[in-house]
Amino acid sequence: MRQKILNALIGIVVALLLGAVLLLLQGYDPLATYEALFRYSLFGYYPFATTLRNAVPLVLPGLSAAIAFASGVVNLGQPGQLVMGALFATVGGLYLDLPPALMIPVLALLSMLGGLLWAGVAALLRRFFDMSEFIVTLMLNMIADFFTAWAITEPFKDPAAFSPMTPQINPNGWLPKWGEFNTMILFMFAAVILAWFVFNRWKAGYEWRITGQNALFARLGGCNINRNFMAVMLMTGALAGLAGGLVVMGGPHRFIRGLGANYAWDGVMIAIVANNGLIATFLYGLFFSAIQTGALGMELITSVPNEISQVLQAVLVLVIVASREYLNTFVEQRAARRRAREART
């Protein structure tokens, strides 16, 4: 535990230093830039609320990727599952009319269904044709991208809009706000707790974990590998889908072009940085969201383009992951040297 925190701190510091060098090279003041970055993401009621809210589409795909990877399932389809979830929720929101107390859960469930079905396609192709889910989910991402693009230009297009987008969904499906806090963050908290519980306390979760660590052992031990694979695929698809639905219901209330952005891929990265730990995924999700959120404010103040946040994120990932493995060997080697000294005396 201590080692994990130390690793995170070292990684973050080194990455920020590297980022500072990049900024210096371009003639910006790194201190002022970082100051603005965190002022507009963490310090203050509104910035913090925004960071939390922006974390939703990062944390949910992150959880999805973390659970999948830790279970030995290479689901890289979060981007596609996210937009499919968003599309399902949007279409539901356009045609259903229920009271908010019903409408919101129904739309959330619909978005999960969308992600689940899209992940299910890959799961079935793997199950029945042995097609590696790795490539299949990647290809399905592209296909989902084009499919949703078509859906918002042709059948569900808002006739009043100039660019491809759907009309706004029924206001009963809009997620309410409490002050600056959008209630979508409640879904995120619930998802983190539930996912943690399933993964760490359910018998199925135990089998998923062991399968991810050593599939042959799990199989010989009597775990139903195929059913577990299916379950993980569908569950992680639903998580990514939910992210899409929440983005629609909490934000623009419609499906606009580029809605998925890089959320899901960032989520995958977050899972990797977190070494597939669920709580760590949540925390890193918040941190990455802080960077993305603060970058917008930073741009206003310092004229550093906010896209620098994407560069910073990639550097963070590499440095944290590389230093994790280094720290491990370092700690072990130090113990070895101490033992050797004891032996000599």
Binding site: R201, W202, K203, A204, G205, Y206, R209, I210, Q213, N214, L216, F217, A218, R219, L220, G221, G222, C223, N224, T329, V331, E332, Q333, A335, A336, R337, R338, R339, A340, A343, R344
Partner: protein, 512 residues
């Protein structure tokens, strides 16, 4: 030979494997020019590590090496080879997809100006070396198609091709059949007579006595002594290795077997290309009986385990346990009848990164309702922990806590956890695949006691082992597998290691 000048001196070598395994504890030893020097010791005594330090494959924490009168320090094997020291590892590291000559010239390939490999010349150079040392190899054969003994020759030739003077061989006979060993020894003697120095790692004392000029004995990372082979005996070496007298006799008490538990009928496994892996096996294992399966590795043991466990489907035949036909059961269904200790702990027997308790409850979590809560949805972690603590206590496992990562346990303790887990399943039939391979003597004896205990309980045991000594120590009956066929089914009182050995090697080829 024993009066030749010293070629290599290793002084006060200390090596610790991270985090805290003391592999070499202040070892000082010398090797002379033109001798065959054996290094013997149990698994984990540090013999391989010592040689790896010499070869630059791993770095010592302290100590020095004097080679040809000069202090040397090889940071990687390439430097050692350049200086004339080469090592052949226990696991043969060749590229199966390449031919013999490609493997040998790799790294020192003759090329033309374009960087294109001059095949003609490369082949010719390799052929010359083969003839020079009378190695009887086809340079154009693909390595995947040649025997293990031939692969070993390729390894040795690779070093000779680079003109090494010192050859280190790590347990070379472990992978050979008894027939192939004299040939290797003849080749090694020829090399020695030609001026090469040979360092020979082994734990087979007869071989060592036959081959060596001098012998160094190691125990638990320390050097015990170096003695001339002519001045010692097997008993003395064994005592130095283990630190006490070793009993080579069985503790198995006579016991009449009960009714058949496992029954295998006409079991066959054919591959698509028609290769026969298992050929019409018929045998029984009865209650209170240990049946040992002997055979050179690769003669069907792997496939027998796979078909019994349901990993592979047999082409024909049936498997019964207590008259239940399990031939078409899936793995979980079979697990209600079979306890299974696999041969490879890290690959099949456990997850190394998981905490101990998660490895300890595997299969139990499915079969024992006490592991469930909420109608089978939740895992009862408290019971799981309790179960693991009991297992640790009942099977003398040394582990800090049920939450310790499995990989931090020693090999012997890991195996005890797996054996304990499987025996606690209380199945009538127990399948053991190399249950003590690579273990220290203490753990090995402990596991042997456990196997004898379940025999006394009246359970049926099928034990596959590459160690004939172990088979004779424990078995009531011995099955011999040869090219997928059962060529022997012998009560242990009516046979001897020589007979089983020749069945393993030649079989009694029946037309089928």
């Amino acid at each position: 030979m024993t009066n030749n000048p010293t070629l290599i001196e290793m002084r006060h070598i200390v090596k610790v494997y991270p985090p805290s395994v003391l592999a070499l504890d202040d070892v000082t030893v010398d090797f002379r020019r033109g001798e065959i020097h054996s290094i013997v010791g149990e698994n984990g005594a540090g013999k391989s590590t010592l040689m790896k330090v010499l070869y630059g494959l791993t770095q010592a924490n302290s100590g020095e090496i004097i080679y040809k009168g000069e202090p040397v320090h090889f940071r990687e094997p390439g430097e050692a080879i350049a200086a004339g020291i080469g090592m052949v590892h226990q696991e043969i590291v060749l590229i199966p997809e390449y031919t013999v000559w490609e493997n040998i010239v790799l790294g020192v390939e003759p090329v033309n100006w374009l960087g294109k490999i001059d095949r003609q010349r490369a082949r010719q150079l390799v052929k010359q070396k083969i003839d020079e040392f009378q190695f009887n190899l086809d340079p154009d054969a693909r390595v995947e198609s040649i025997s293990v003994a031939a692969r070993q020759k390729v390894e040795i030739l690779t070093l000779l091709y680079r003109n090494v003077e010192v050859l280190i061989l790590d347990e070379p006979t472990a992978v050979l059949t008894p027939q192939e060993i004299p040939q290797l020894f003849a080749e090694l003697n020829r090399l020695r007579d030609g001026g090469h120095t040979i360092l020979f790692i082994s734990h087979r004392l007869e071989e060592v006595l036959e081959l060596s000029d001098r012998i160094t004995v190691m125990r638990k990372g320390k050097k015990v002594d170096t003695v001339p082979a002519s001045a010692t005996t097997r008993q003395e070496l064994a005592r130095m290795m283990v630190g006490r007298d070793v009993i080579f006799t069985t503790r198995r008490k006579p016991q009449p077997p009960g009714e058949a538990v496992l029954r295998v009928e006409n079991l066959s496994l054919r591959e698509d290309h028609g290769r026969v892996r298992l050929n019409n096996l018929n045998f029984e294992v009865r209650a209170g009986e240990i049946v040992g399966v002997a055979g050179v590795e690769g003669n069907g043991q792997f496939e027998l385990v796979n078909t019994l466990m349901g990993i592979q489907k047999p082409t024909s035949g049936r498997i019964f346990i207590r008259n239940v036909d399990i031939t078409h059961f899936d793995i979980l269904q079979r697990r209600q009848y079979i306890s299974f200790v696999p041969q490879d702990r890290g690959k099949m027997g456990a997850s190394l990164v998981a905490p101990l308790w998660e490895d300890a409850i595997m299969t139990h979590h499915r079969l024992n309702p006490r592991f469930s809560q909420w109608n089978g949805l939740l895992l009862n972690t408290r019971f799981a922990q309790q179960f693991t603590r009991d297992l640790i206590e009942n099977f003398s496992v040394v582990a800090p806590s049920p939450r310790a990562p499995f990989r931090t346990l020693s090999g012997g303790n890991q195996q005890k956890v797996i054996v304990g887990r499987e025996l606690l399943l209380q199945s009538d039939f127990v399948l053991l695949d190399q249950p003590t391979r690579g273990l220290d003597v203490g753990s090995m004896e402990y596991i042997h006691d456990q196997i004898l205990r379940i025999r006394a309980e009246g359970r049926a045991v099928l034990m596959i082992s590459a160690d004939l000594e172990e088979i004779f120590l424990l078995s009531d009956r011995i099955l011999v597998l040869y090219r997928g066929q059962l060529v022997g089914n012998l009560p242990v009182e009516q046979t001897n290691p020589q007979e089983v050995g020749s069945l393993m090697l030649e079989g009694q080829v029946q037309s089928s």
